[in-house]
């Protein structure tokens, strides 16, 4: 089975569009060996997209401190904190995984996250920060390398 590359973001919200831009670049580059899906959905609704895949790469914008804008940050699931959210719109991946485990859903065995440090993911219509766009030079090879490695390891067509 092909892995899923799930690109999260909103292309009218400034730097939050980096995931969608990455999806555009990846489509045509790896869609023979991975399903590339771009979505503005979030929270619990992502469960619908993840179920059924064994391996998933998630690309998203992130705002941390201590990283230059445009940094590509590689995260594993165990590095994410649990989000006891007051809203299903903000349900985090760890909760989705717990939910999937409890209900014995066919949930991905491997999830790798590539996050891009952004400046302003809030302002409608704002141009993306050039450093964020520049992150694609590192992000795209990282994602394709991962897909290639998974392909060699698992031997899927």
């Amino acid at each position: 089975m092909k892995p899923l590359v799930l690109c999260l973001g909103n292309d009218i919200l400034g730097d939050d569009g980096i995931g969608i831009l990455a999806a555009e670049k990846l489509t045509g580059l790896i869609d023979d060996r991975a399903d590339v899906v771009a979505t503005a959905l979030h929270g619990a609704a992502l469960l619908d997209l993840l179920v059924g895949y064994k391996q998933v790469i998630i690309i998203d914008a992130i705002k941390l401190t201590g990283f230059p804008v445009g940094s590509v940050i590689e995260l594993n699931l165990d590095e994410l904190r649990t989000v006891g959210s007051p809203s299903p719109h903000f349900t985090g991946l760890p909760e989705l995984i717990s939910l999937a485990e409890q209900m014995q859903l066919d949930f991905p065995e491997e999830i790798k996250i590539f996050a891009v440090e952004v400046d302003d993911p809030y302002t409608v219509g704002k141009q993306m920060n050039p450093a964020v766009v520049g992150s694609l030079r590192k992000l795209i090879p990282c994602v394709t390398a991962y897909i290639d490695w998974w392909q060699k390891r698992t031997g899927y067509a």
């Binding site: 979505t39 299903p88 719109h89 409890q102 219509g125």
Partner: protein, 487 residues
């Protein structure tokens, strides 16, 4: 010592969308403020863009309810070009829209309200989540919810196409008809949705209505406001989510006014407060008289409870039965209990399912003509739908080439904002005693606004791992004395 408590439930919004609670020296509450995030720059962003792009653009505002924006925008384009879509197009739009309602209402009930009502408002916070709900009701119910949502989503994909921002709604109709051979599937999905709606109401009945403690919360004065209510109705004053005039009833349930989309500015105005980015909608017919309820205050509510109050009934039989039970148990009409919104939401979910079936059983829904080509020069258009969270208004003006010169959006949470502010203030004052602000009390204050399902998704999605909730306790000089991370 006076102190200030801040509940900030919003990720990635940097100070927008939070609750500030100002305490007095006696350990009680002087005032609690609710703030929602602003939608920055959208109207400026829309300026200069072709109007026909608006259904795609506006659906990107919100990752939670893109279909509501898409539909309000499509209807605004119909009005802008003064073009009436063919009957089949209207039916397909409404079918899709009711799918969206079920999907959204189910998510709210099982994931958001479920922890409060099924697990319990004062339960350990580690259990007050969807896993806690499943622990109480069993995994099979979780699988049922996920299965139903998947079935609905697949049907939306079948009708609208599998793209991130589908080109579905057009001025004068939709982009493609439904194939005749797919109609059977439309009916099947509607049948499953009806069964799911009945099941959900039975679950609510068994778990909530049979529990005197929960009913005490629902009917508690802490969660009660006697305000005006607004909702969309059909020709018979029964509920409709897709089309019809807006009807407003007063705190006694009597009709105040009923108006069409092009009259909304005559009846809805906006009030600004220095402590909030949100523009608080109120009724022009009554006027703004501060944050108070009663017949002299123009504050009104939208969303499920308001819609049930504003309508004379449900147009489908099973939902009507549930509607009658609702008002009977809650002591007559209108119902002012904010927490009854969750129950009203389930009644609406059943209505949506029944309406899907009505639409699918109509052979006209698969007629091939689904687009009327506009011929009029565009000038101005207003489109209104009921979003799951309440009345959503899109208003555009264009030049003669159809390029946007003005866009005004009034979203559901804005319409509810003043009543939400009332709810948070009253709950905080009623629940916090002797300076005691424990986790259970904070959750019960959150319940006051959670019932409305205020949507902050207009901002952006949240990368997992960020802090969703922060409570800061301040002294009378607003110096931070204590900070609690609620996650």
């Amino acid at each position: 010592m006076s102190k200030k408590i801040v509940i900030d439930p919003i990720t990635r919004l940097e100070g927008h969308g939070k609750i500030d609670i100002i305490m007095n020296d006696d350990g009680g509450v002087d005032r609690a403020y609710f703030q929602v995030p602003e939608l920055r720059g959208f109207e400026r962003f829309a300026h200069g863009r072709p109007a026909e792009d608006m259904p795609q653009i506006t659906s990107r505002i919100c990752g939670v309810c893109p279909t509501a924006h898409h539909m309000a925008s499509s209807k605004a384009l119909d009005d802008l070009y003064k073009v009436d879509p063919p009957a089949a197009a209207k039916k397909v739009r409404e079918y899709v829209y009711n799918i969206f309602f079920i999907e959204d209402h189910a998510l709210h009930f099982y994931y958001l309200a479920g922890p409060d009502f099924v697990v319990g408002p004062k339960a350990n916070k580690g259990e007050r989540n969807i896993l806690g709900v499943l622990g109480k009701v069993g995994n099979e119910i979780g699988l049922k919810v996920i299965g139903m949502r998947k079935e609905l989503r697949d049907m939306m994909t079948l009708i609208m196409g599998k793209t991130i921002h589908p080109v579905f709604g057009l001025p004068g109709g939709i982009s493609k008809p439904i194939a005749k051979e797919d109609r059977k599937r439309l009916i099947e999905v509607a049948d499953h949705a009806i069964e799911f709606g009945q099941f959900s109401l039975k679950l609510f009945n068994d778990v909530v209505l049979e529990n005197p403690e929960y009913m005490e919360y629902i009917t508690s004065d802490i969660y009660t406001h006697k305000t005006y209510y607004m909702g969309m109705v059909d020709d018979n004053n029964k509920i409709n989510f897709y089309d019809g005039p807006l009807r407003v009833v007063d705190p006694d349930g009597k009709e105040l006014v009923k108006f069409g989309p092009d009259e909304y500015l005559e009846h809805i105005a906006e009030h600004v407060e220095p402590w909030s980015y949100v523009r608080f909608s109120y009724l022009k017919d009554i006027g703004w008289n501060g944050f108070s309820d009663g017949p002299d205050s123009g504050i009104f509510a939208v969303a499920p409870l308001a819609r049930l109050n504003a309508a004379d009934g449900m147009p489908t039989p099973l939902a009507q039965e549930a509607y009658e039970q609702f008002f009977e148990i809650c002591g007559g009409k209108p119902v002012h209990f904010t927490l009854a919104t969750s129950w009203a939401r389930l009644i609406e979910m059943l209505y949506s399912a029944e309406r899907m079936k009505e639409l699918a059983e109509d052979p006209e829904i698969v007629e091939p003509k689904v687009h009327t080509i506009p011929t009029e020069k565009p000038t101005e258009g207003v489109g209104i739908v009921e979003a799951p969270r309440g009345t959503l208004i899109h208003h555009y003006q264009t030049d003669e080439k159809g390029v946007i010169t003005m866009a005004n959006l009034i979203v559901a949470t804005q319409n509810n904002a003043a009543r939400i502010a009332l709810s948070v203030d009253k709950a905080a004052k009623g629940l916090i005693r002797d300076g005691n602000v424990d986790d259970g009390i904070l959750n019960m204050i959150e319940m006051a606004f959670r019932a409305y399902d205020p949507c902050h998704g207009c901002a952006t999605h949240a990368l997992p791992g960020e802090m969703p909730l922060k409570v800061g306790i301040y002294d009378s000089q607003y110096n931070l004395k204590r900070e609690i991370c609620r996650r």
